[in-house]
Amino acid sequence: MDMPIPDAGIIARKAQIVALLKQVLPADAVIHEPHETKAYECDALTAYRCPPLCVVLPSSTEQVAAVLRLCHQQGVPVVPRGSGTSLAGGALPTADCVVLGVARMNDVIETDYDNRFIRVQTGRTNLSVTGAVEEDGFFYAPDPSSQLACAIAGNIAMNSGGAHCLKYGVTTNNLLGVTMVLMDGTVVDIGGAHLDAGGLDLLGVICGSEGQLGVVTEATLRILPKPEGARPVLIGFDSNEVAGACVSDIIKAGVLPVAIEFMDRPCIRATEAFAHAGYPDCEALLIIEVEGSEAEIAEQLAVISDIARRHNPVELRESQSAEQSAAIWKGRKSAFGAMGQINDYMCLDGTIPVTALPHVLRRIGEMSKEYGLDVGNVFHAGDGNMHPLILFDANKPGDLEKCESFGADILRLCVEVGGCLTGEHGVGIEKRDLMVNQYDPVDLEVQLRVKDVFDPKWLLNPAKVFPLASSQARRAA
């Protein structure tokens, strides 16, 4: 993975830049000793790390504006950081950058149940947004699996999804307004508590822009009343094709489950060995969850089970209680941990049309043999978002490179069948150079021009999202 050559002039001015930052921030909000900045050298894509010039931890929109204004004047790149849980290297520093962490900004600013929104500072974690409203019967819908740790700032930057987005949508569908600081220090307010922001949909383009257009410091989020209950059904099949056809039939029948999770045999075996959830040893497993009152749940599960039976499942287990529900989810929720027990793994995130599922799984199986690397598949089947987990040994020379090459082939396959490189993790540095597989030069150029408008000097998170060659001229200007 190439990164741009850091600007030696900036690195030489480190002491001066730190001193200037200390003029606009409290002393404890500027971190610059190498042993202190170590924690900020990488995010959850731990294969890549780089010590930043320094780290700042502002505690207000005004402080963020002061930092950005200063860095803008000084021509210093800024890498925004939420909680550092990006799997795509979205918060990976460069040696000449200031990391701007929003972790100290985690207050709830306003909670309004009559109008069903919450306004928070964006350093607040995803789960603690729900935590602030759940006693009153509400929740914040997007639920990335890192929700215990990940910050709303990062959720907005990456347009994070989750297991329940088939029904509730992803971050962009639940974001009503933001306060954002542009790279030159200008503070803008977009949207609010009303359902549609006026003018061009700037909120739509900011969400998912990977911290390249501005630093979002406050967000107004839609909250929803909690459903009365939820229960899953577990269905095992002896072929991926049949499991895929079953998903398709369920969707066509008019049922809209909140989650349809799919696991293939390698993943089932790994999780079973690890978590002993009592899963059947079969080719494909579906976990389908529905919500509502007891009677509504029963009605929906009956429709789903009827359809599933027509596909001759090897196992069909409707949860009858909270304990059984937990048991059904136990394996799925420990899938990543289970794969991690076996070896190091790389988690991919491509999306495919759900109709292409059997073909894609067959091809991944073939490639797995060619590369000599095992892969397990966990999959949000309702929306086509795949999570192939490729196993490799980080200590074995060449294995990481082989794994990356395998991963790139899988992502190219996703694009080839009509899908995309990333469904919810973001491009970051990880998939930056694959963008040319999904987009023509003109498609990318239009996106680069959007960044030109928000950040003409290309100082915000500049080496991400776009292939380095396509952004080179702008970064160098």
């Binding site: 069903r116 609010g192 009303h194 066509k252 029948a253 003109v442």
Partner: protein, 378 residues
């Protein structure tokens, strides 16, 4: 008038344009023509190019009649989730609404509160920008964070950033049954504004409940309507629960089947203001500000949707609604008025300076010659 027959033709037409273009799909959504540019109709780019019911995905060329898309979906018992409004009755316009025009105006109806807006179901676009380049963004899968989301940016951009040539949607199953509860809202004072506050409180009560309401509106008499959809037993259960929640706000009556559907079509299309002499404004605020809006606009015909947050106001011709609402957070759009009123008051709410600068910057990048619907969005 330019009438390209395919995307390449369209790109050629934009590239070769020597002055402003006035872009239209079916021409049903107005407003008055604000420029003397050359008309460019995308109505010739038609056809559903992909429909996979099992994947809940439909892709169509921008000029495809909305009715054709809805008919194709109905065959598979599916629908566009966001219940797009038909503007013809309100604006007195003729012609055939197109799927591209609907996207360009980001048109959503009552179900927006539950299923999201048009922009939330839109998953991919192809368009020709002001340079004449064909650009694609998003795709045909519903979860996609690959690069910047220009899909949302294009929705509601009214042709000012590019001319849409193809749009892709996530669709949803049509629900089996729907039922509506109407509440004759009563209070002691009999004051109209307070009545609205009480009707909005009734809607807030149901929207804060777990009973999955898909419509929450108030008619011009201040009565509240609440819709639920789904499987029969589920609808029956939720109707019973909602009835008991709504009882304290007034007498509750039920409406089922075609009567319920007809009611929501009327709400969706702002039927109560069809053919009147009023100027019509569309106001977006948080629901709790609905009563304040009503108080400022005394004498106006007011219809509320989206739990009270979407307000259709019929006012005396030339009235400055935006001025009357100063200080209330949100925005007001002039939807039906004489050309002079559009010119004097502006169709869209002016933006704060830093936002206006970003908007101008984007338009300059997408359309450096300033030929795409100049004047349409101010």
């Amino acid at each position: 008038m330019l009438t390209p027959r395919d995307e390449a033709d369209l790109a050629e037409a934009v590239r070769g344009a020597e002055g402003p273009l006035w872009i239209e799909g079916g021409g049903t959504r107005g407003p008055v023509r604000a420029t003397n540019g050359t008309r460019l109709s995308v109505a010739g780019l038609t056809g559903i190019t992909l429909y996979e019911p099992g994947a809940l995905t439909l892709v169509a060329r921008a000029g495809t009649p909305l009715a054709e898309v809805e008919a194709a979906l109905a065959v598979e018992n599916q629908r566009l989730p966001f219940e797009p409004m038909d503007h013809r009755g309100l604006l007195g316009s003729r012609g055939e609404p197109t799927i591209g025009g609907m996207v360009a105006a980001n048109v959503s109806g009552p179900r927006r509160i539950q299923a999201g807006a048009c922009r939330d179901s839109l998953i991919g676009v192809r368009f020709v920008d002001g340079r004449g380049d064909v650009v694609k963004n998003g795709g045909r899968v519903m979860k996609n964070v690959t690069g910047y989301d220009l899909v949302k940016l294009m929705a509601g951009s009214f042709g000012t950033l590019g001319v849409l040539s193809e749009v892709a949607f996530k669709v949803l199953p049509r629900t089996a049954v729907q039922h509506t509860l109407g509440v004759i809202v009563t209070d002691d004072a009999g004051n109209a504004s307070q009545n609205i506050g009480r009707a909005i409180a009734a809607l807030s009560a149901v929207l804060g409940s777990p009973f999955d309401v898909s419509g929450a509106a108030i008619n011009k008499d201040g009565n509240a309507f609440v819709r639920v959809e789904g499987f029969a037993a589920s609808v029956e259960y939720r109707v019973a629960q909602l009835k008991s929640l709504l009882g304290r706000f007034g007498a509750v009556r039920g409406l089922a089947g075609e009567a319920s559907e007809a009611l929501w079509r009327k709400i969706r299309d702002v039927g109560a203001l069809h053919g009147t002499d009023h100027d019509v404004w569309r106001i977006s605020v948080k629901p709790g500000d609905g009563a304040a809006v009503a108080a400022r606009l005394a004498g106006a015909e007011l219809l509320f949707d989206w739990g009270g947050g979407l307000i259709w106001a019929g006012v005396a011709a030339g009235s400055d609604v935006r001025g009357a609402l100063a200080g209330i957070s949100g925005h007001a759009t002039l939807v039906r008025a004489a050309p002079e009123t559009h010119a004097a008051l502006g169709t869209f709410q002016p933006e704060q300076a830093p936002l206006a600068a970003l908007t101008a910057g984007l338009r300059a990048q997408f359309d450096p010659r300033g030929i795409l619907n100049p004047g349409r969005m101010g």
